[in-house]
């Protein structure tokens, strides 16, 4: 097919997106850039203040804390959730009886309304009588007895040193979505490849490394990028469980402070500046991931 025909076909196919982009994206994005250079409370007209918002943000303790918290949290959560989902997917892909039943079970957390699961986790993570610590306590006591240490079950959500860990746990548990994706991708791997490998005497590890992973790499890539974009904007769970980022600012995530600035303090200009800084951070991170993982992603159709 000649060049200009593919070009026209391309634009035609992506036209729904282009329509949406023109109608609903260009103006709001331009508006928010403008607001980031203004004092704006959403109701009265915006007053330009140049770079003041950006300058003040760089001096703002809560902004810096939010940036740090979010970066650390993302660095732990994205790998943790991907690994958990992948491990579960591999488990659930095995030929065992009752897989349909198990898969439904593992998918359940993703469909329980957030408000319900948050309250449940508050109970699970209660330092005194929560289920998690109740199970941990005897284990730690055994370890203490054997090794002479003085370990105690962590305070989870009430201890600034452990709140992020608690939230990482919660995220790892809510991986139903990625789980489904990986299962779908695993199902797409041609059986013949495995059969051919077995004939050649390949073991499980070899099969996983040279067949499974490359074949599902496009979907892995997807969850990596989406995980990165999403976790850097992490908000809902933290808002419900630890509003205001207490205790001790440990869970003051970037998006929480942004939200407070926009809708609580009515500093939409300031919040817009925050949003655009986050945008730059996410773009940079995404580009970095794209570049570094390019050679690991194998599109069977010789795509891209």
């Amino acid at each position: 097919m000649n060049r200009s025909k593919e070009w026209r076909a391309g634009l035609l196919f992506i036209s729904p997106f282009l329509v949406g982009f023109t109608l609903f994206t260009i103006y709001p994005v331009a508006a928010s850039i403008y607001y980031s250079f203004c004092d704006f409370d959403m109701v009265r007209s915006a007053r330009p203040v140049g770079l003041a918002n950006y300058a003040n943000l760089l001096k703002d303790e809560r902004f810096l804390r939010g940036l740090w918290n979010t970066a650390v949290f993302t660095a732990f959560t994205v790998p943790a959730t991907m690994l958990t989902a992948l491990a579960l997917a591999l488990l659930l892909n095995m030929k065992l009886k009752g897989q349909a039943f198990y898969r439904t079970l593992f998918f359940l957390p993703s469909i329980v309304p957030v408000v319900a699961s948050s309250v449940l986790w508050l109970w699970l993570l209660n330092p005194d009588y929560g289920l998690l610590n109740t199970l941990l306590r005897p284990v730690l006591e055994a370890v203490n007895a054997a090794a002479g240490t003085a370990l105690r079950p962590p305070g989870w959500l009430v201890d600034p040193d452990y709140t992020k860990a608690a939230l990482v746990l919660m995220s790892a548990w809510g991986v139903g979505g990625s789980l489904i994706l990986y299962l779908a991708a695993l199902g797409d791997v041609p059986v013949q490849l495995y059969e051919a490998a077995e004939i050649d005497g390949a073991g499980a590890w070899h099969k996983a490394r040279h067949i499974t992973l490359p074949m599902i790499s496009p979907v892995l890539f997807f969850t990596l990028i989406m995980g990165l974009i999403g976790t850097l904007q992490y908000f809902s769970q933290a808002w419900i469980m630890t509003p205001n980022g207490q205790p001790g600012d440990a869970t003051l995530f970037y998006a929480l402070y942004l939200f407070a600035n926009a809708f609580l303090y009515l500093r939409m200009g300031y919040a817009s500046a925050q949003a655009w800084i986050l945008f730059v951070v996410i773009v940079a991170a995404t580009v970095a991931v794209f570049r570094t993982t390019r050679r690991f992603v194998h599109y069977g159709g010789e795509g891209t």
């Binding site: 009265r44 007053r47 309250v119 109970w123 305070g155 207490q246 001790g248 809708f263 609580l264 303090y265």
Partner: protein, 459 residues
Amino acid sequence: MARTALVAVGAAALAAFFILVRPEDPSGDGRRTVLRLWHPWGGPMLESFEQSVRAFEAAHGDIACRLLYVPNDLSNNQKFYTAVVGNCAPEAIFVDGPQVAEWAERGLLADLTDLLQEAGRDPARLEEEFFPPCWRQCFYKGRIYAVTWCADPNFCFFWNREAVRRAIAAGEVPPPAAARIDIDRGPATIEDLDLWNDALTRFEGDRLVRIGFVPWGVYGRANSLFTWGWAFGGEFYDPARRRITANHPRVVAALEWMCTYARKYDVRRIAALQSTFGSAEQNPFIAGKQVMQAYHVSGLDELRKYAPHLDAGMAPLPFPRGGEADSSWVGGWTLAIPSTLADPVRRRAAIRYILWACASPEGTRLEVRTTNGFPAWKPSPFFDEANRNPRAAAFVDILRKCKHQRPVMPAQAYYMDQLDRAVDKAIRGELSPQEALDRAAADTQAFLDKILADSEGRP
């Protein structure tokens, strides 16, 4: 084949469902003025609130009310702001008391002063009919922007009499202390409170199994600081000079007192004891793990519902020497009209609803049925009824004596967050109370000055 048939049947069933179950058309009775009202009264209050609005409609045949429930959290703010900016706001809306000044400053709320006059209620007279702090919350820069619908007097002090009795009987309280504990009177001063706390807090090995009292656990850290700050005789805002006084010496003293509890028993342990399911029915006082608690008037209802057998004593808040006796403050909710409402007919309808709901015998009586809280309107017949129940009467008493409400100024939300963080840092030992409150005051002052300067620069 079978699958296609299944899909077809499914689609047909779905279509039928969509047609048969349909939202009703909004009442098309042309003679009636439509009053759209946004409210946060969900859960157990939904039914009684709807009933109260029906009663209003029955008494005012020319107004039809359409209610819209909007959950009370920040998502409520988002909905309201977009509606005002997009000029599709309702006719009336419930506004949280401390938010009135903030929203008025930004031009979100309509000035009600003249409307009230037109509706036959002289604002000056109306002012005398409301409890002073409730009125003050609605009054900003000389104009009235809202009318208080419910007044929640904060707080009364409760203690678990049975737990105290058992502790003394079991010998857990050293005799000299036990002699000074008056189970029926409760702790009257801060010194008494400290004494009770020391006597009743109990460890089992390393674990904290019962605590006397948690000073910063009174409905959040910021609210706790307000409570004790005022009880100690402090002030949080000087309206005349528009100065934030979070670091008022008496407020600092209150925070220092709070920190003594944090130091005595590791903050983390207390937080562990306190962290529950995050809801009313599972709080440490009801569970018997905390012996004393300060409660909002809704606490009476909670105790009745979730701990009917708990033998609780009740009294006004303890206070230190030189502090304020029977200290309390009000929060509460108000009714307001969005600033974008221009149509005079609907404005009049809205103000009639507001006056009926907040300042009429029937309206205030029904308000109590909805919230179990109190009206802010002194002539309400409810108060005679209330005085027959000794517990409710105790709350009415502190409402009458109440002198405080949260600062009426447009940086209120920011201020509360700053105070919350200050308390958190102080009890954690990261900052001294003086430092923490100095910072909170300075930050909030800068924020407030900016808003006020910004407003002056506008027409």
